[in-house]
């Protein structure tokens, strides 16, 4: 696990150092001293490096209720794109025991796309459509990605551990005025209508199947810390 983490960080370092920096280049010929020139170069390099690392700091925190990823999920992530229309979330969810043998922890990776922003006034804006895809996994020994070796080949073709979900939703955001900011620069409330691969598969070929069994409703809140 630790080895894997190191190699991911290492790869990330390579990718980041290849990204061109936005800082403007200074004409080094106008600087007389060699050592000063070297210092400037060093400073610029450091500045670029810092900027790149800064991009790794998550820009918001999220809380989500339900949605086939646990009772409550807490997450963080990054917003990016020209109008911050893209978001990638990472959630840790809590699933109570209910009638099973143990409470469970789930992990979710979620990709969001909000194509439009409607500014209502100084304070509020609406994202009339949020859509995306999320992949959820349960941390529990009774679930597998691929069937265990004891089964004949191809016995269970599906994974009990990995669930793929898609959703459509809407959001409303309150921009917190600068002088009132304490923790976040904006706060967003959202709801989502989602479905998961299992629900679609169970639905196929069954005409008398009510729609409410196919879809799920979830709610959430996002606190934007940085842009």
């Amino acid at each position: 696990m630790r080895k894997w983490l190191f190699s991911v960080l290492w790869l990330l370092g390579i990718v980041l150092s290849a990204v061109p920096a936005s800082a403007t280049e200074i004409d080094l010929d106008t600087i007389p001293s060699d050592s000063l020139r070297r210092l400037r170069r060093y400073e610029q390099r450091m500045k670029r490096m810092e900027e790149r690392w800064h991009k790794l700091i998550p820009s918001y925190g999220k809380w989500q209720f339900a949605g086939n990823m646990g009772l409550i999920s807490l997450g963080t992530g990054w917003s990016y794109g020209k109008n911050k229309q893209w978001e990638t979330d990472f959630f840790v969810g809590f699933l109570p025991k209910f009638k099973s043998d143990a409470a469970k922890v789930t992990l979710t990776l979620k990709q969001n796309f909000m194509p439009w922003k409607w500014h209502l006034n100084e304070k509020f804006f609406i994202e009339p459509l949020a859509c995306g895809l999320y992949i959820n996994t349960v941390l529990h020994n009774d679930f597998w990605v691929r069937q265990p070796d004891r089964y004949p080949k191809g016995y269970y073709w599906f994974s009990t551990r990995i669930r793929t979900n898609i959703y459509l939703g809407q959001r409303i955001t309150l921009k917190i005025p600068q002088h009132k900011r304490f923790f976040a620069k904006s706060i967003t409330a959202f709801y989502e209508i989602s479905t998961c691969d299992y629900y679609i598969l169970s639905h196929i070929g069954n005409s008398g199947y009510p729609l409410h069994e196919l879809i799920s409703l979830s709610f959430g809140v996002k606190l934007q810390f940085f842009d």
Partner: protein, 272 residues
């Protein structure tokens, strides 16, 4: 749009959501969050025992492997409800396809539409993920027995491969205990299971041993099983004793057994 307008529309939306939320809020497919009826088998067993107490002849409809064929399951329920000669229904396992909680509740809700009582057995698909817990909560124990008329039905969990030696499957102790349990109340026996000996999920090292143990049960008439997805009446051990295999529900045919208190029985295949 003014803020007032907005607040009002949000309030309307929120109340609509709340009204619909009971059905729409899902925590996880495998959450074992059970709503509605639980402990079905125990309750239906007492209904069966009560209704069949003085009967000379018991008529039982056997199905299995309903998986995610909910339309066909509904047609079956309608077909049984149109008759008035059936005493009860046996579902011999594979209630679900993926073992996720809602599948057990859907199948339960469809079968609850039956006018006659029913019992369900655990199939190999019902063991996946948290399926075992969901089966336990909704239907009950995986090994159980009951008496209808003078016939004892011994229902067994035979999905050995799913348990990987964590529990004794099949449970020989349970079988032996039913040779003498409630001895005065029955004269003959029927075995019911999801996978039969020689099936891929059965512990085939004990296939013949299992058969011998079953034969100890007083006047064992036959066994009923599922898992094979097609009707098959098999003399598995070459001794003339028959394992009757039900079809998967999408074949739209069920087995109708008539068990007599004197230890004789007959069966027919009924298309629906």
């Amino acid at each position: 749009m003014s803020i007032n307008h907005l607040c009002r529309s949000i309030a309307v939306m929120a109340s609509l959501c709340l009204m619909a939320s009971c059905d729409l809020i899902d925590f996880h497919p495998y959450d074992v969050h059970i709503t509605g009826d639980t402990d079905i088998n125990a309750r239906n067993v007492s209904r069966i025992e009560e209704a069949c107490k003085d009967k000379q002849q018991i008529k039982v409809a056997a199905i299995g492997d309903t998986h995610r064929w909910y339309d066909e399951l509904r047609y079956f329920v309608d077909a049984v409800n149109e008759r008035n000669d059936i005493d009860f229904v046996i579902h011999d396992g594979d209630i679900s396809e993926y073992g996720y909680t809602q599948e057990f509740l859907w199948t339960r809700d469809y079968l609850n539409e039956l006018k006659v009582p029913y019992v369900a057995l655990i199939g190999n698909h019902d063991c996946l993920g948290t399926g075992r817990d969901a089966f336990g909560a909704v239907f009950g124990a995986t090994n159980y027995a009951f008496i209808a008329g003078r016939v004892k039905f011994v229902c067994l969990n035979t999905n050995a491969l799913e348990y990987d030696y964590s529990e004794p499957i099949p449970d020989f102790k349970f079988i032996t205990s039913h040779v003498t349990d409630r001895a005065g109340e029955f004269d003959c026996t029927v075995g019911v299971m999801h996978a039969r000996p020689t099936d891929d999920v059965f512990n085939n090292n004990v296939a013949e041993v299992f058969h011998q143990y079953m034969l100890q049960l007083p006047q064992l008439m036959c066994c009923i099983n599922g898992h094979g997805h097609s009707i098959h009446h098999a003399d598995l051990m070459g001794d003339g004793f028959i394992y009757h295999q039900t079809a998967s529900i999408d074949d739209r045919v069920y087995l109708l057994f008539t068990f007599n208190n004197d230890g004789t029985y007959s069966y027919e295949e009924v298309a629906f």
